[in-house]
């Protein structure tokens, strides 16, 4: 995809290109600014924080700042949730960090490893060695939602930066700027509603803003409509069916979500929680216990689809009580 094509998505078009453009994250910005003045001294970095707070954005800014026009040639960007296993570490990362084949002026190569907390333990252990061995050639920037899922030895080899959840004023302010640039009308209240519905995740908020804008003016009503369609609403349908003891229908939707659309099972779990808790006539304590159990099982099991299908069956039994 060329730049022109990717900028059709506002989340990409308005992705900050410099530290100054970054929303909030004062502390991170200050520390990084100092660090970037002495690139040779830069250690490996670990960015931890909730989704949509700017971790990947900052990683890309660093790559651009330090590697200049050729940053794409010397940056390896991998998403660990796509390729979680040890093979990716052994093959791609090792190959990329093996040779010093850089033009002058390039201090080192950069490996951006997004969602590193999704990596298996084995893969992290393998990564740890590579980080040491290749420190002359490459710097690693890892991003993670929870730094606690990163093994201790890797954490200790990184400078850790904590990204904080963005406040509603910041996110709404950024959305206003986008609306002004794009010339689309908005109700202020609608922007706050988007913030709320996207749980403070800037990326999610901007995508919702754009979807709403495609349909017309950004009003509270339109925002609600947009959130009421699409994959998110499929989850809602699924939860309804499950609670009405229509297991087959519910599982049919689950299969669509996972196998046709390839949604993240963890996010499906999150959405199920939101929808179940919004459901009246249900013992919410029992429901929460059940969801907590299956959320845990989801992270332990080998087949997420089986886990979620079992949850749907249990929701059916729960609504009966």
């Amino acid at each position: 995809m060329s730049r022109v094509e990717t900028t059709m998505m506002w989340a990409e078009k308005y992705r900050p290109m410099a530290l100054d453009e970054l929303v909030d994250q004062e502390e991170v910005r200050e520390r990084l600014r100092m660090m970037l003045e002495h690139p040779d001294e830069m250690p490996h970095l670990l960015f931890a924080g909730p989704p949509g707070t700017g971790k990947t954005t900052v990683a890309l800014i660093i790559a651009r700042t330090l590697l200049g026009d050729y940053w794409r040639d010397y940056t390896l960007e991998l998403n660990a949730s796509d390729e979680r296993g040890i093979d990716i570490v052994r093959e791609r990362i090792k190959a990329f960090t093996r040779y010093v084949d850089m033009r002058s002026g390039i201090p080192f190569k950069i490996v951006i490893l997004d969602e590193a907390d999704e990596m298996t333990g084995d893969a992290q252990t393998a990564l740890r060695r590579i980080m040491e061995e290749s420190s002359r050639i490459a710097r690693f920037i890892l991003t993670a939602n929870f730094s606690s899922n990163i093994i201790e030895p890797i954490q200790s080899r990184c400078a850790v930066f904590r990204f904080v959840r963005l406040g509603e004023k910041d996110v709404a302010g950024f959305m206003k700027r986008i609306c002004d640039e794009e010339g689309c009308e908005y109700e202020e209240e609608a922007l706050y509603l988007i913030y709320e519905l996207s749980s403070g995740d800037m990326r999610r908020a901007i995508n919702q803003l754009q979807a709403t804008a495609v349909l017309g003016k950004v009003t509270v009503e339109n925002v609600r409509n947009v959130f009421g369609v699409g994959k998110r609403s499929l989850v809602k349908d699924m939860v309804h069916a499950a609670l009405k003891e229509e297991f087959n229908k519910a599982r049919g939707t689950l299969l669509e979500l996972i196998r046709v659309y390839g949604l993240s099972e963890k996010d499906i779990m999150k959405f199920i929680f939101e929808d179940v808790m919004a459901y009246k006539n249900l013992d919410h304590v029992e429901a929460a216990r059940l969801l907590a159990e299956y959320d845990y099982r989801l992270s332990r099991g080998s087949n997420p689809e089986i886990q979620l299908a079992a949850l749907l069956a249990e929701l059916g039994a729960l609504s009966r009580k």
């Binding site: 990409e12 995508n207 009421g228 087959n248 659309y261 332990r300 080998s302």
Partner: protein, 400 residues
């Protein structure tokens, strides 16, 4: 134990680490008093111990081995090694001293052991080989400096697969390639783990011994177990089936979800909960490579099926959804692969948080569709069709 039965007796029959094997063999062959000792470093199951024994055998050495299971304080080491200092055993053959797991040689239990080994290195008059399960012996740098360090790498998957096939052939057994590859994958270059895994799979579920001469097909066993109200009897049926654990889990999943009608919700939920637990157990077995845990799997699966009166189903997906998975799913997966890179997110995240918005304006964008066609290798006709349908679904408010 297959790991012992199939431990190569000759250096030439080993797999992987060719260069290290050659170096070690040559070191031992040309060893003279005063030669440096050899220090073998590398992950478990890569052939360190095997190499020492095989090379010693070929070159006429007796191995005097001390590993972490022995106490290795200074006093013990001295006493055990004293006879070796003469250089010959009572039978007149040559001696090689092998200190395995030297990385475990520190702390209180082996008091003075590490220092003694360092002294030994400079004074020993027979070949000395040390081995450690790590990539360096950081806590005793003196040992690395004083030795000839040989680093072992993990065994490449391809070689491992060949070796497992050789074992299967020798045993007159066969396994699906997929299963073999799975074992290889989870062994992560550790040959010992792979062979143990292979043996456990071959005898999987059969840990309780005995012959399994009553063979039922998975289909018959699952249906019969489901029609039997007693979990014990369902278990007796299920355990006779010769199938891989994943196959069994998959079959129970398909059968419960596709082959039941109007079951009591509480009862059905219980069955699904047990299936979920079977899946977790299997995941734990794979992660920890603790194949012994397989003995519980059939019990749990049997309890999940018992009394459900479900009819065996080979497929776990209704036809209408299968066809969507094949047709649209393929286009969507490829689109996600391409677009997620462009937006710096994972494929799943693209589908979860970007896709709906993406559809809203890409469905009508001819240029973008053409470009997507080039990047995904799908025809732009099929891409347009899929995006249009999605577009309709979104604007139609999802009322299907």
């Amino acid at each position: 134990m297959w790991t012992e039965k199939y431990r190569p007796k000759e250096v030439g029959y080993m797999v992987g680490n060719e260069d290290v094997r050659a170096r070690f063999y040559s070191w031992l062959k040309h060893w003279v008093p005063g030669s440096k000792p050899a220090l073998l470093l590398g992950p478990p199951g890569t052939g360190k111990t095997t190499l020492v024994h095989a090379a010693a055998e070929e070159l006429g050495y007796d191995v005097m081995e001390l590993n972490a299971s022995d106490y290795r304080t200074k006093t013990v080491l001295e006493r055990r090694l004293r006879p070796a200092m003469g250089g010959l055993t009572v039978f007149g053959s040559k001696i090689l001293v092998f200190l395995d797991e030297v990385d475990g040689l520190y702390g209180r239990a082996d008091y003075g052991g590490a220092e003694y080994v360092l002294k030994l290195i400079s004074s020993i008059t027979v070949p000395l080989v040390m081995a450690a399960n790590r990539e360096d012996v950081g806590h005793m740098p003196g040992m690395e400096r004083a030795s000839l360090v040989m680093k072992f790498k993990r065994i490449p998957s391809r070689l491992m697969e060949l070796y497992l096939r050789y074992i299967l052939k020798s045993e007159g057994r066969a396994l699906d390639r997929e299963v073999i590859l799975n074992i290889v994958k989870y062994a992560s270059g550790d040959m010992r783990a792979a062979i143990n895994g292979l043996q456990a799979i071959i005898y999987g579920g059969g840990f309780e011994g005995g012959y399994r001469d009553v063979r039922m097909t998975l289909r018959d066993a699952v249906t019969e177990a489901a029609s039997n109200g007693l979990a014990d009897e369902a278990y007796a049926i299920l355990r006779t089936v010769d199938a891989q654990p994943q196959e069994k889990i998959r079959a129970v999943y398909a059968t419960l979800t596709m082959g039941t009608q109007r079951m009591d919700p509480a009862k059905f939920a219980r069955s699904m909960r047990l299936l979920s637990e079977a899946d977790i157990l299997y995941s734990r077995i794979i992660k920890t490579r603790n194949w012994k845990l397989l003995r519980y799997l059939d019990r749990i699966l049997a309890a999940s099926l018992a009394g459900t009166h479900a009819v065996y189903s080979e497929y776990d997906t209704p036809y209408n959804i299968s066809s969507r998975i094949w047709n649209e799913g393929k286009v969507l997966r490829k689109t996600a692969k391409v677009m997620s890179k462009a937006f710096h997110v994972s494929r799943k995240e693209f589908m979860t948080y970007y896709f709906d918005t993406f559809v809203l304006f890409s469905a009508k964008n001819g240029g973008l569709i053409l470009r997507l066609g080039q990047l995904t290798g799908e025809s732009d006709k099929s891409i347009r069709k899929v995006l249009n349908e999605e577009h309709k679904r979104l604007l139609g408010g999802n009322n299907r």
